[in-house]
């Protein structure tokens, strides 16, 4: 392109003058601002803060005893709204250890707007944390919670109108929130719940479920007992046949339960002909021992040293081969960030500076670039040697 005579105004000189006026024009604009206090916090920032608080405090206001479990009613002036199925991470200091556990919010989100959450804590085998809570939380105990987290929620753009929920044991909790949300109109879908318990007496929320089912035809519950035969109850484990028996023609499957239930279902689900889109699984906390995974290449009896860097300080702590790295950090009294504790959420993301680790493929929720760059999620990573790790405390 050859040069051509460009001008906007009749002569080019006036265009150049226009250019020169740019600064005085902007100067005048900058003088026109208000003298209000300067802030970066507007309504939408406050909305973000109230939906996603960095931390929440609540007080135990009621304890509902259940078989080997308690439901804690937590109250505060204000608690973050959430989506039925989400969890909060409860922060705890037990003896010298600092730790946290995810607990599903087991009541309708509508109650959160009135300052109420409910969580159910069930006695677990070797349940260091559940034992502590069941023995120590009393009326008036102040608890520290994260904001609501997790993607185990109904999404109409993705899911079918009909949901089949498979719950095992305390895995009933997200479905309690969903059922309550359906009942009060917060959510709009139909839920058929297959709920596996050992015996009738082990069923959590039996009465509440009965009440909800009586009040709405959108929620249906089928109890499945593995160690008891009783009339009106299914017997055995929840498998393909049982799902087919109760499921509507098209549905999305939601699964929440112990690791053993997921393992059993892994053999059953192919028989249902569902694609991946129609199967939603709640995270399953990482098992404590890495020997659970067939490809574990280490020796679980080994003991190592973890050189931990945080905020520029260096600390050396003992590290067992047979527990997730996060557990070692927490036992040393260090409040490392964590939320889901199953490799997925990435809150515990830490920088591995040196050493060999084992990350089971099924728990590897890291970003692709983190794999190359040496970042790990210590909640679901086990040591194979002495390690050097940098964590970023909250």
């Amino acid at each position: 392109m050859k040069k051509f005579n460009f001008h906007v105004k009749p002569i080019g000189l006036l265009d150049m003058l226009h250019f020169k006026q740019m600064v005085p024009r902007r100067r005048a604009i900058l003088k026109s601002g208000s003298l209000d206090p300067i802030t970066a916090v507007y309504g939408v920032n406050r909305l973000a803060q109230s939906l996603h608080p960095r931390q929440q405090k609540a007080v135990v206001s009621e304890i509902i005893p259940r078989k080997d479990a308690n439901t804690y009613v937590l109250k505060a002036d204000k608690l973050a709204y959430f989506r039925a199925g989400q969890y909060v991470s409860v922060k705890l200091r037990i003896g010298d250890a600092a730790t946290a556990r995810p607990y599903t919010l087991a009541a309708s989100p509508a109650l959160a707007l009135e300052g109420e959450y409910r969580i159910t804590v069930k006695k677990a085998q070797d349940g260091f944390v559940s034992d502590y809570i069941l023995e120590n939380w009393q009326l008036g105990t102040e608890v520290t919670l994260s904001g609501p987290e997790g993607p185990f929620s109904y999404e109409p753009l993705r899911d079918e109108k009909e949901v089949v929920g498979l719950a095992g044991g305390s895995g009933i909790t997200p479905f309690m929130a969903m059922a309550a949300a359906i009942l009060d109109g917060t959510e709009d879908f139909r839920l058929t719940l297959l709920y596996g318990s050992r015996t009738k007496a082990d069923i959590l929320y039996a009465e509440e479920l009965e009440r909800i089912c009586a009040a709405t035809d959108k929620v249906k519950v089928v109890h499945v007992l593995s160690e008891e035969e009783a009339e009106g109850f299914e017997h055995g484990f929840i498998g393909a046949e049982l799902i087919k028996k109760y499921a509507p023609e098209t549905y999305t499957l939601y699964i929440c339960g112990p690791r053993a239930m997921h393992d059993f279902l892994a053999g059953e689900l192919p028989g249902l002909g569902l694609d991946q889109k129609h199967i939603r699984r709640e995270f399953v906390p990482a098992p404590s021992s890495p020997t659970y995974f067939q490809d574990y290449p280490g020796d679980p009896a080994k003991r190592f040293t973890l050189t931990l860097r945080m905020l520029g300080e260096e600390k050396r702590i003992p590290l067992r081969a047979d527990e997730p790295i996060l557990t070692a950090v927490e036992r040393a009294g260090i409040a490392a960030p964590s939320r889901c504790r199953s490799g997925e959420c990435g809150w515990c993301r830490s920088r591995l500076i040196g050493g060999e680790v084992f990350i089971p493929a099924s728990l590897d929720g890291r970003r692709l670039a983190d794999d190359d760059a040496g970042y790990i999620h210590p909640c679901s990573t086990w040591a194979l040697s002495d390690l050097e790790l940098e964590i970023f405390p909250e």
């Binding site: 392109m1 040069k3 051509f4 460009f6 001008h7 906007v8 080019g12 265009d15 150049m16 226009h18 250019f19 740019m22 024009r25 902007r26 100067r27 604009i29 900058l30 003088k31 026109s32 601002g33 208000s34 003298l35 206090p37 300067i38 802030t39 970066a40 916090v41 507007y42 309504g43 939408v44 920032n45 909305l47 973000a48 109230s50 939906l51 996603h52 709204y81 989506r83 707007l113 993607p151 999404e155 753009l157 993705r158 694609d275 991946q276 889109k277 905020l311 520029g312 300080e313 960030p337 997925e344 993301r349 890291r366 970003r367 692709l368 670039a369 760059a373 970023f392 405390p393 909250e394």
Partner: protein, 514 residues
């Protein structure tokens, strides 16, 4: 840990990462603090199910190939950051699905000649005006280079002599110049596609900026990192550490510590750190407001100048992982711009409302990186922006439904505009609203586009007012709120520029490194 630094960089977004890398490389003791647990700000990634999504980047210009790097690619190389760049397949497909005359469907290629040829095919008779457009764009690029070579202080007489065409066209609104070039209206509309990357309509957006943006994209093509923006951000994190920099994540800067009208340090949620020079990769609203007691004690002119700035487009994006391939879906392009109307003034006005047809910049990542998700699947994202702070009025209870409502409109519009079916194949979906941006990046009003570069607050005016825009000594801005504007390439350049300006500040007071 060490408390004393030469430079503290607040915020590890693109600008902050670039500033920290630039400062370390120059031998300054540098502390980079970031409130989130990841580097990158918007330049990150997130996982849902078997998909890893790109939250923000559509296309990064000025990268170039390894043996012929452009400005931004060369800068990132110079930091020692290793990124696997993927060149994008085409410039864009623009679909205007309005009524009657207001219908366009154009797929535009990279490369100046190919772009002009294609435009002539869609709009016969547009060639001469398009050639003139690129001629002026060349003039602007040459003038920008001359200004940069003169360290920002180009001699006006030299500029008038050497770069008269630049001075004659650059400060007019883009539409005014295109009309003067007698560009056919339809060609103007097709050429306007990138306007939504700035959120400023063509009757306002300055030609000097827009022409150089088009030039950069079309002449040199655009790129993305293979493993999402997170790859770029972790590569920067790595190089900063290798050059001796310190990075603290999960650390929120709460207060600028001042003495005699200049900063001496920053108070954070993990204690105070000290430096006489601050580079902020956050908004002036946060620095001079929330971190300086609302601006109490600052000169009135300063408070007015911050409050006069207009927050730009507030970001919204819906991400979907689909259980069909892009080919199966009939989604053939990487980058789509889709809107109801071709009139960018009206579009910008309607973007201040919860409108029926939000304009959208839509990406099908799989058409640039076929293995970005497992076989049989693909990844798409639907981005729009809001030109008014309307999400501030949304309640907690309404929030999820509101996010979803916008997503439904955008996906339906995409389906209608392209004759495809997307909705039944959604395996994973996540929606980021302005509140999501506010959550993760703490940006005012959920702004994706910092301070708007429209209404007289454009690039050239900001660059000419560098000196007077520095209202507190020794604080410089590397963010999109700073002199170089928003967008990945701008903030990368802006981070380096903030360090150069800091060095000038240091020189002025004979600063000696700690």
């Amino acid at each position: 840990m060490d408390k004393q630094y030469d430079i503290i960089v607040i915020g590890a977004g693109n600008g902050g990462l670039s500033a920290a890398a630039s400062a370390c490389k120059r031998g300054f003791r540098t502390l980079l603090i970031e409130q989130h647990n990841l580097p990158g700000g918007f330049a990150t990634s997130f996982r849902r199910g078997r998909f890893e999504f790109e939250p923000a980047l559509h296309e990064l210009c000025d990268v170039g190939e390894p043996d012929s790097r452009e400005e931004v690619g060369a800068l990132i190389d110079s930091y020692g950051a290793e990124v696997d760049w993927v060149r994008l397949p085409e410039a864009y497909r623009l679909i205007i699905f309005g009524e009657g005359e207001d219908k366009i469907d154009a797929v535009m290629p990279f490369g100046k000649e190919a772009f002009i040829d294609k435009m002539e095919e869609y709009v016969p008779g547009s060639r001469e005006s398009m050639e003139k457009f690129f001629y002026l764009a060349d003039c602007i690029m040459a003038a920008n280079a001359a200004v940069a070579a003169a360290g920002g202080n180009a001699d006006p007489k030299v500029m008038m002599k050497e770069h008269p065409d630049f001075l004659k066209c650059a400060n007019y609104p883009t539409a005014v110049v295109l009309r003067k070039l007698k560009m056919p209206l339809k060609a103007q509309k097709i050429l306007a596609a990138y306007w939504c990357y700035m959120g400023v309509n063509m009757e306002d957006l300055e030609f000097g900026f827009y022409a150089s943006l088009v030039h950069k994209y079309i002449v040199n093509a655009a790129y993305i990192p293979r493993y999402r923006s997170h790859e770029l951000s972790v590569a920067m994190d790595k190089t900063i550490r290798e050059h001796g920099g310190t990075i603290l994540y999960n650390t929120l800067a709460t207060k600028i510590l001042m003495e005699d009208g200049a900063p001496v340090g920053v108070e954070t949620t993990h204690g105070s750190f000290y430096a006489r020079h601050i580079i902020a990769d956050i908004s002036p609203n946060a620095v001079f407001g929330d971190m300086m007691d609302g601006g109490k004690g600052l000169p009135e002119d300063h408070i007015r100048a911050v409050n006069a700035r207009k927050i730009g487009g507030r970001g919204y994006c819906c991400y979907v992982g689909l259980n069909k391939t892009a080919e199966e879906l009939g989604v053939h392009e990487y980058s789509y711009f889709i809107s109801e109307l071709s009139d960018t003034v009206k579009e910008q006005e309607l973007a201040g409302t919860f409108r029926e047809h939000p304009m959208q910049a839509t990406i099908c990542l799989s058409n640039a990186i076929p293995d970005c998700s497992p076989p049989g699947t693909c990844i798409m994202s639907f981005t729009t922006f809001f030109m008014k702070d309307i999400w501030s009025d949304v309640t907690e209870k309404e929030y999820t439904a509101k996010k979803r409502e916008v997503a439904v409109k955008m996906i339906r519009d995409f389906e209608k505009a392209t004759g495809t079916s997307i909705m039944p194949y959604i395996e994973e979906i996540e929606i980021a609203s302005p509140a999501t941006l506010a959550r993760y990046a703490l940006v005012p009003q959920g702004a994706m586009y910092a301070y708007s570069c429209g209404e007289g607050d454009g690039l050239m005016a900001r660059l000419q007012m560098l000196k007077e825009d520095q209202r507190v000594k020794n604080i410089r801005f590397a963010s999109g709120y700073g002199p170089r504007l928003y967008g990945y390439s701008s903030t990368y350049m802006g981070g380096d520029m903030a360090v150069k300006l800091t060095m000038a500040d240091m020189k002025e007071e004979n600063y000696e490194k700690v």
